[in-house]
């Protein structure tokens, strides 16, 4: 499984803090983006950063592994 995490404004729009998505061999980040885009378009609108296992990833073709933790995040507003 892939653990998909949401925080703050994104979590509010998704209506959940976490989703579990079945892992499929050869899966890339783009497939998760497509899934979120189809089911929660208003949440995707405010996603500015994506992290895979707590490191920011910009390449949408980034290959995923079973057990990965993927976070879809709005612009940070801490401090």
């Amino acid at each position: 499984m892939i653990r998909v995490l949401f925080f703050g404004p994104v979590a509010e729009r998704v209506g959940a803090r976490e989703l579990s998505v079945p892992f499929v061999a050869g899966m890339r980040l783009q497939e998760l983006i497509d899934l979120l885009s189809a089911n929660h378009p208003s949440a995707l609108d405010i996603v500015s950063f994506i992290a895979v296992n707590q490191a920011q990833v910009n390449d949408r073709q980034f290959p995923l592994n079973d057990g990965d933790e993927i976070a879809f995040m709005a612009k940070f507003s801490g401090g």
Partner: protein, 141 residues
């Protein structure tokens, strides 16, 4: 001794943080600090409370990276970063940064750099709770 980089609900003491910083060396000539506080007013609206949420594990890792980069790039003797993740009211402490160096220029430069970078790089979000309703804060570009 507390860790030099922390995310916590509870408030912190500047005296305690500075004492911890000083314990690391007798070569410290200057300590710059920045304390971010909750205001009762933001962009024309009254704010009753501010609520914070973090991607805790990633936020802590980024803050530790920021501290290490600041120590290396500004030749600091030591630095500490504390961010509260809880609900605060006007006047309450939110974030504290302290940078210790042999001379003051490096301490000031590093302290400012850390808070600027923290706002850009650390996954924490704030929601302002106002009499007219709640709203997640969207940072300016």
């Amino acid at each position: 001794m507390n860790e030099p980089v922390r995310i916590q609900q509870e408030d912190f003491s500047q005296d305690a943080e500075i004492a911890a910083l000083k314990a690391s060396s007798l070569r410290i000539g200057g300590i710059a600090t920045f304390l971010g506080c909750a205001r009762d007013f933001s962009e024309g609206r009254d704010v009753s409370e501010i609520s914070f949420e973090a991607y805790g594990s990633m936020a802590l890792a980024e803050m530790n990276t920021l501290r290490s980069e600041a120590i290396a790039n500004f030749k600091l003797i030591d630095a500490r970063i504390v961010h509260r993740v809880t609900t605060v009211r006007a006047g309450d402490n939110i974030v504290f940064i302290a940078t210790a160096a042999e001379h003051r220029a490096a301490a000031f430069d590093a302290c400012r750099w850390i808070i600027d970078e923290l706002k850009q790089r650390v996954p924490i979000w704030k929601k302002e709770i106002t009499p007219e309703g709640d709203a997640w804060v969207t940072p300016h570009p």
